[in-house]
């Protein structure tokens, strides 16, 4: 009963907290709300007309939605890179970053689920997937595994920070015996969500571009580069606009993680390129399309080469300690890396899987305006959720909102 009362009070205080703020904060939230509404309006068009409102066709049947979903699973998984050292290795530096990281994971997961729902032809029939009342093709379908692990991960990442916040809110010290097992679980789980999302594609013998053993590990490496890179940028913003103290040291340590992951990712990219182009087979043709275009169809060329140049420049620059230590440059490099991986693991991975088609047909994919607007709307939703979580979390951490016993 008491916990419930505390929780209700926290929600109430949290609500007050997120509805009050500086002018910049209000403008930020208003802009996000506007983009979300615009996205919802476009989604209503898509519901009305069907998926023909998107750029997808029978030839390229997954597009922007699934691309963003794949990328965001990585961002969500990367939160553990901060959880592990902070909780288990008692690295004080990381502790402030962890709440932010887990908030980011929650926001990313909400976006993942939204992207999957947006991609469905019959969202009203999604109850067919619910346990007991539906039919769940487990364990045969990797998609059912993904549904399980993503929702499980969402649950873990809501409960751990929630427990910590509720305790801090009452001015108590969280009991490590309660949350450490959860932290360990979430570490394994995070690797799991990403491997399983990779298996979703990797397990399709029909698509040679995805059907390769390196896909899973590469997903992990790129995730652990892009996720913490985003966290660094977010921490920089939070540091600037709130009283929340994030020491330089924390950011520098996270940048170390980003660097190592980006280096590994680059090595795997080289390995993949070598395999596809040293002795090209029929199965390399999707890679040829992605990097050089086929029969004059070159829609992805500017994107993938932008991605590769950003990736290489950022990784090389990060490797030098001196460059990385300059925080201003670090932020720029993290931004570059984030965009590079968003392209590479988003539509740079999904679209070429379908081109050429099973019988060699080369039909390109261009997202429609409806599709792009819905995508922007979902990203705005993610930013909105994250802002709410982070603002409440920071206020509790700083002791600005405290539970008052009546």
């Amino acid at each position: 009963m008491k916990t419930l009362r505390v929780f209700r009070s926290l929600i109430k205080d949290g609500f007050l907290e997120v509805t009050h703020g500086s002018r910049a904060y209000h403008i930020w939230m208003a802009v996000l709300s506007f983009i979300m509404l615009f996205g919802m309006y476009n989604y209503s068009i898509q519901l009305e007309e069907g998926l023909s409102a998107t750029g997808m066709t029978d030839r390229v049947s997954w597009g922007l939605y699934i691309s963003n979903f794949t990328f965001l699973v990585g961002v969500a998984a990367a939160a553990v890179m901060l959880v592990l050292p902070a909780y288990v290795l008692k690295n004080i530096d990381f502790k402030q970053a962890v709440l932010i990281g887990e908030g980011l994971a929650v926001a990313a997961l909400c976006m993942c689920l939204a992207f999957v729902v947006a991609d469905m032809g019959g969202p009203a029939r999604l109850w067919h997937m619910l346990p007991v009342i539906g039919v769940f093709n487990f364990p045969n379908s990797m998609l059912t595994w993904d549904v399980l692990v993503l929702n499980g991960y969402l649950f873990i990442n809501i409960t751990i920070p929630m427990y910590i916040l509720v305790m801090r809110y009452q001015g108590k010290v969280p009991n490590p015996k309660i949350y450490i097992p959860g932290v360990f679980l979430s570490v394994f789980w995070a690797v799991g969500i990403h491997m399983i999302t990779a298996f979703l594609y990797q397990g399709l013998q029909a698509r040679p571009f995805w059907n390769n053993a390196l896909l899973g590990p590469r997903f992990l490496a790129s995730a652990f580069a892009a996720g913490p890179a985003l966290i660094i940028i977010v921490l920089a913003i939070i540091r600037k606009f709130t009283a929340f103290k994030v020491p330089d040291n924390t950011i520098k340590k996270i940048s170390m993680i980003v660097t190592v992951a980006a280096q590994i990712n680059l090595i795997m990219l080289i390995s993949e390129l070598f395999k596809e182009f040293y002795a090209p087979t029929h199965h390399s043709i999707s890679a040829v399309y992605l990097f050089f275009g086929l029969e004059g169809k070159t829609a992805l060329l500017p994107w993938i080469w932008t991605s590769i140049s950003l990736n290489v420049v950022a990784t090389v620059a990060l490797t030098f300690h001196k460059v990385r230590s300059n925080l201003k440059i670090l932020y720029v490099l993290c931004g570059m890396l984030f965009i590079a991986i968003w392209i590479e693991k988003g539509f740079g991975l999904i679209v070429p899987g379908f081109i050429p088609g099973p019988w060699g047909k080369i039909a390109e994919y261009t997202p429609s305006l409806v599709e792009i607007s819905v995508t922007l709307g979902i990203w705005a939703m993610g930013a909105f959720i994250f802002t709410i979580l982070a603002k409440t979390g920071i206020a509790v951490e700083l002791g600005q909102i405290v539970y008052k016993k009546k």
């Binding site: 069907g50 997808m56 009203a124 039919v135 379908s141 013998q205 019988w359």
Partner: protein, 350 residues
């Protein structure tokens, strides 16, 4: 489960013995047994209870509020009441694969009645199950096909495919002589007089694999292999994720990107629940070997329509069938055999 009676080379990639509707050739013994049910299926087995339970649970849900209000309304007429009653029952019905015979008849009745209410015309919809000792297979004679595409047109008319987007299950690939089976350079969208000089033709469609990757990946078991080897879709259970489409190595599946349009007078009213009944937007569909015909002992529409006789369809378990003669006497091959999908669709040349 023995593979002795198989007429084709099998990789035995460990998957062949776990499907419930197995295509091993002998329908006696262990093969006709149902597979052991896992957790979800066990609960699913009591399908009537589940359905009624679910109705109760969701009665208050917003999603059905519209249907409730009109079906319980005293003002609206009997017909609209019946209509929304049907809509309600149709929305909450279970997966066809797990339905009892009674459930199947009920949903077929609802669908035909709903069509009658909408258009005033009667439908003839079947829910006929697979027959014993039948396993369908298909053979395609590359030497004979001239690329007339009569099969494609017959298929569209027979199976009520969307006219607006010109959806076609069959693709005819025009290939250049002397280049072998070079799909990359072939053209599956030609608009000129056939047969074109220096070209040969090859048709592809759903191959009704014995080990279908599309069935494995479906998250809700909305697609499965029937006992007679036909890979079918429950259009009302499909959630439209298109994972099966990505998993199919043969481009055998189609998606309804918008509400399919078939002019009323062109609708083929001789239908099967798993076959050519009218689809809705946001669901998958595909070739079913014209299940509404083949289960009545007829040939699929493409076989019937082919003017060159390049298409042969029949029961692989019947030693006297034409298809068996072809498999035994011709040098047959299948496409992308290295993937272990075991298509039941063979090609041969004279």
């Amino acid at each position: 489960m023995s593979n002795d009676s198989k007429k084709w080379y099998s990789f035995n990639l460990n998957k062949s013995d776990k499907s419930d509707s197995c295509g091993c050739g002998s329908n006696s013994g262990s093969c006709s047994d149902e597979k052991p049910k896992d957790g979800y299926d066990q609960i699913m087995d009591v399908s009537m209870d589940r359905r009624s339970a679910f109705k109760k649970i969701t009665a208050g849900f917003l999603i059905g509020a519209g249907a409730v209000s009109s079906s319980c309304s005293v003002v609206s007429g009997d017909e609209s009441k019946e209509k929304s009653g049907i809509e309600w029952d149709e929305y909450f019905k279970g997966n066809y694969k797990l339905m009892t015979d009674e459930d199947k008849t009920e949903t077929v009745d609802r669908l035909t009645r709903s069509y009658e209410l909408r258009t005033g015309k009667k439908l003839n919809m079947s829910s006929k199950d697979a027959e014993e000792d039948v396993l369908f297979g298909y053979a395609f004679n590359i030497s004979k096909c001239q690329g007339y595409m009569d099969c494609v047109n017959a298929c569209v008319e027979e199976n009520n495919q969307d006219r607006a987007s010109e959806m076609q299950y069959i693709r005819i690939h025009e290939m250049e002589d002397g280049k072998g089976f070079n799909f990359e350079e072939s053209d599956d969208n030609y608009y000129h007089e056939v047969p074109a000089d220096g070209h040969f033709y090859m048709g592809t469609q759903c191959f009704h694999c014995d080990n279908p990757p599309c069935v494995e990946v479906c998250p809700v078991q909305a697609t499965w292999k029937e006992k007679d080897g036909i890979v079918v879709i429950d259009y009302d259970w499909c959630v439209g994720c298109r994972y099966c489409m990505a998993a199919c190595p043969y481009d055998g599946r189609r998606f309804n990107w918008k509400t399919p349009e078939v002019p009323e007078q062109e609708v083929n009213k001789n239908q099967h629940y798993l076959g050519n009944r009218l689809r809705k937007k946001g669901v998958m569909e595909k070739c079913t070997f014209c299940i509404q015909r083949s289960r009545e002992g007829q040939n699929p529409a493409c076989v019937e329509a082919c003017p060159t006789g390049s298409r042969t369809f029949g029961n692989l378990l019947d030693p006297k069938s034409n298809i068996r003669w072809i498999l035994e006497n011709k040098k047959v091959f299948r496409l992308k055999e290295d993937l272990g999908t075991e298509p039941k669709f063979w090609y041969y040349m004279d």
